[in-house]
Symmetry: C2
Subunit: 397 residues, 2 copies
C-alpha cells in the first residue's frame, strides 16, 4: 500500500521518542514540556462542573457550533481588549481543539504544495509537524536574543513571493525561552506592513511572565492579516484541548471555519462551557500568580545551577517567563551525542535537532524546568555539567 507524500514528509515526534527513554523512574528529566500540575485548579473545576451540570444540562453534551461557545469567545475578546487595548469581537474568534489545531487549519487554508512559510530558527516542533501536512517550503529566519533577524526576514520575503505566512512565538518562545524585544517587534511590523502575508503570533505562554514588562503584539491591531493564537493549556488545563484563533480578517476566519468543520465539526462543548464558567467565577490572576511564582523559582534554580556547574564556554538564554531554557554548547559539539552520555548518567533533555527544518547534529539543546524541584534541578544540572567538562577536556586533548 502507498501512503501520501505529505505524511511521509511529516516528522513523527522526535521528542515523544526521547520522552519514552527519559520517563524511567530514576532519570532526572528536563526533556518534557508539560505544565506543572499546580496549574490545574482541580477543586475549582470540580465545583464548576457540578454547577454547570445543573445550569446547562443537555447543552453540555449535544453537538454544538463550529466557531465555539459564544460566551467563551466573548470572555477571550474582553481579556485581550483589556490587556492590550485591542478591539476584538467574539466574531473575530474561533475556538480550536488546542492551539495545535489552529496551526493545521491555518496551513490548510493558506498553503498550496510548495508555497512558503517563514518559521523561526529554531522553532516549535509541533508547528513544523502541523505545517508539513500541507507540503510547504520552509524558510527559516534566525532567532536572536532580541527576536527575529529582521534583515534576514526582509530579504527572505523579498526573494520568495510564494511565502504565505510567518509563524512566530514572540513570548518565551519554545524551544528557546526568548522574548522578542519591543524594538524587534516594531522592526518586524515595519517590514511586514509592506507585504501581503499573514503574521501568526502564537502565544501559549504569554500569561506566565515573572520578570520584565508585558509587550504589545507585533501585528494585532495594526496589521490587516494579523492572527493571534492562544490556549488554556498552560494556565488551566491542556487535557481539555482548548485553544483559539483571533483575527479581524473575516474571509480568512470564514475559510478556517470551513476547515474546522471538515476536521472535527466543533471543539468539545462540555470543556468549553466548563472552562468559561470557571474563568468567570474564579480569580484567574491569583491562580496564574501561583504558577509563575513556582516557575520563577524553578527557572532561577536552573540558571544558578548552570552558572555554577557548566563550563564558561556554554551560553544559555535567561527567560522572563514560560517553561524553557535554551543552551548553546561550544561550536562543533553535538547535543545528540551529549544526550547519549547524559542518559548513561540518568539525566535527560531535548537535543536541538528537531527544532530545525534543515540542520542536524546541532550544538544546542532545550531544558525544561517546570516539573522538577529546585533540589532535583541542581542535581540534574550538576550531572550534565560534569559530562560537559569531561567532553570539553577530552576534545582539548
Amino acid at each position: 500500500m502507498k501512503y501520501s507524500d505529505k505524511i511521509l514528509k511529516t516528522p513523527s515526534s522526535f521528542i515523544r521518542n526521547i520522552l519514552k527513554v527519559a520517563s524511567a523512574e530514576d532519570v532526572i528529566s528536563f526533556a518534557g514540556g508539560l505544565p506543572n500540575p499546580i496549574s490545574f485548579p482541580i477543586d475549582a473545576l470540580q465545583e464548576t462542573i457540578n454547577k454547570a451540570m445543573e445550569v446547562h444540562g443537555p447543552k453540555l453534551f449535544q453537538y454544538s457550533t463550529t466557531e465555539g461557545y459564544l460566551p467563551l469567545r466573548q470572555y477571550i475578546a474582553d481579556k485581550y481588549n483589556r490587556s492590550y487595548g485591542l478591539t476584538i469581537d467574539p466574531e473575530d474568534i474561533l475556538i480550536t481543539t488546542g492551539s495545535q489545531q489552529a496551526l493545521v487549519l491555518l496551513s490548510e487554508v493558506l498553503i498550496n504544495k510548495g508555497e512558503g512559510i517563514i518559521v523561526e530558527e529554531p522553532g516549535y516542533l509541533g508547528a513544523l509537524q502541523a505545517f508539513s501536512l500541507t507540503e510547504p517550503t520552509f524558510y527559516p529566519v534566525q532567532l536572536k536574543n532580541e527576536g527575529l533577524d529582521v534583515e534576514q526576514l526582509e530579504r527572505t520575503l523579498e526573494e520568495n513571493p510564494s511565502i504565505k505566512f510567518i509563524y512566530t512565538v514572540p513570548n518565551f518562545q519554545n524551544p528557546t525561552g526568548i522574548t522578542y524585544t519591543a524594538e524587534n517587534r516594531n522592526a518586524i511590523y515595519e517590514v511586514l506592513k509592506n507585504y501581503d502575508v499573514v503574521l501568526i503570533e502564537d502565544d501559549p505562554y504569554g500569561d506566565l511572565r515573572w520578570s520584565g514588562e508585558k509587550l504589545p503584539y507585533i501585528g494585532a491591531g495594526r496589521l490587516e492579516n494579523s492572527v493571534l493564537l492562544g490556549s488554556f493549556s498552560k494556565t488551566v488545563t491542556p487535557g481539555f484541548r482548548l485553544g483559539y484563533i483571533i483575527t479581524k480578517n473575516k474571509e480568512l476566519l470564514y475559510h478556517v471555519n470551513t476547515a474546522k468543520q471538515a476536521t472535527d465539526l466543533h471543539t468539545n462543548i462540555f470543556s468549553q462551557i466548563v472552562i468559561h464558567d470557571y474563568l468567570v467565577n474564579n480569580d484567574l490572576a491569583a491562580h496564574i500568580a501561583k504558577i509563575t511564582d513556582l516557575y520563577e523559582t524553578q527557572s532561577n534554580a536552573m540558571l544558578a545551577a548552570i552558572a555554577k556547574y557548566f563550563p564558561p564556554t556554554v551560553t544559555y538564554t535567561k527567560p522572563e517567563g514560560g517553561m524553557f531554557i535554551w543552551v548553546t554548547l561550544e561550536e562543533g559539539m553535538s547535543a545528540l551525542e551529549l544526550f547519549q552520555k547524559a542518559m548513561n548518567d540518568k539525566v535527560a533533555f531535548v537535543p536541538g535537532d528537531p527544532f530545525y527544518t534543515n540542520k542536524t547534529n546541532v550544538n544546542t539543546l532545550r531544558l525544561n524546568y517546570t516539573n522538577s524541584s529546585p533540589e532535583v534541578i541542581e542535581e540534574g544540572i550538576k550531572r550534565l555539567g560534569k559530562i560537559l567538562y569531561e567532553v570539553t577536556t577530552k576534545e582539548l586533548v
Copy 2:
C-alpha cells in the same frame, strides 16, 4: 490574499445554513441530525465525573498520549471482539476527536492530490467535506436498497488504479437510512479482496438497531486493509467529540498517529477517562435500549404518516435503525424547490443536493425523526404531503 485550492474546493456545510433557517421556534424541523437528548446519561455522567476526579486527579487534566487512553481502547477492543468475533487489540485502536477527525486523518495519510476515493451516492456530507481537504477525485458508486452497486464498484476499481480507499456506512446510512444486506457485504468483499485498497466502514449508528439482525462487517477480520470507525456520539454524547479508528494494518495506524499528533496532539483526556469509567460502571445495553425504543416509535410514526399523507408516487426507505429516512420524489422534481415551499409552511428537511459529489437539483431529500414527538411528526409530514399533492397536481395541469 490568496487561499489554498483545497479550501476553495471544500464545501461549507449546506446543512448548517439550512439549519439556521429551520431553527425558528415555529418551524417543524426534520432537517437536523442531532441525537435525542435522551441519549445523554447526564446523572450517571455526573456521578462518574465526581468519582473520576477523586480516583484520577491531575491525570484528567494533563497532556496525554496521541493514541488515546489505554483502558478505553481495551474496552473498545473487548466490545468488538465480543460482538463480532474479531481479534482486535488495544494497539489496533486510535482515539480520535470525533469520528469526523478519523476521516480527515485517513484522507491525509492516503491521498495525494487527484487520487481516487470511492464514495456512496448519496453519501455522508461530512465525509465529502473532510476528504475534499486533500483534493481527491471522487468516484461515486450508487447506493441501492440492498447496498452498494457491486458491478459499478468493480468497474470503477478496474478503470481507476489511482483509487486509494472506499468509504462506506453499511448500517443505517446517512443520509439514506439504508443497511447493506449480508449478501451485498459478501459481494463487496469478493471484489475488494482482489484490490490493494483500503475499505473504511464508518459505523456511528450500528448500536441503534430496533429491527432485523446485526450483520458482520464487510472487511473487518478478513480484509488486510480493513478500517472500522466508531463513535460515542450517538450512544453517550457527541459533545465530548470521541471517536476511534480500528485497523490491524500497523503501518497505516502508525501514519495516522503521526497525522493525529500534528493535528491536535491527542484527544481530550478528561472526556476519554470519564467515558471509559462511565462505560465500565453502567449498563450500556439498557441505556441504548432506551434510545432505540424512542427512535423506533418516532421512525414508525414518520413512516405511517408518509404512507398516509404523501402521494403514492413518492418512494422512501424503511430504516431498521439509526436516524434517517430518505425520500425520492417523482422524476424531474426538485427537492430544493420543495424546500422553499415547505419553509413557507413552516416545515423543514434537507434537500438531497449536498449528499452528491456531482449532481444538483436532485429529487431526493433526507428526513430526521429523532427530535420530534410522534404528534409533531404527523403534523409536519401532513404539511409536506399537502405541498407534494399541490405540486404534483400543478405539474399534471
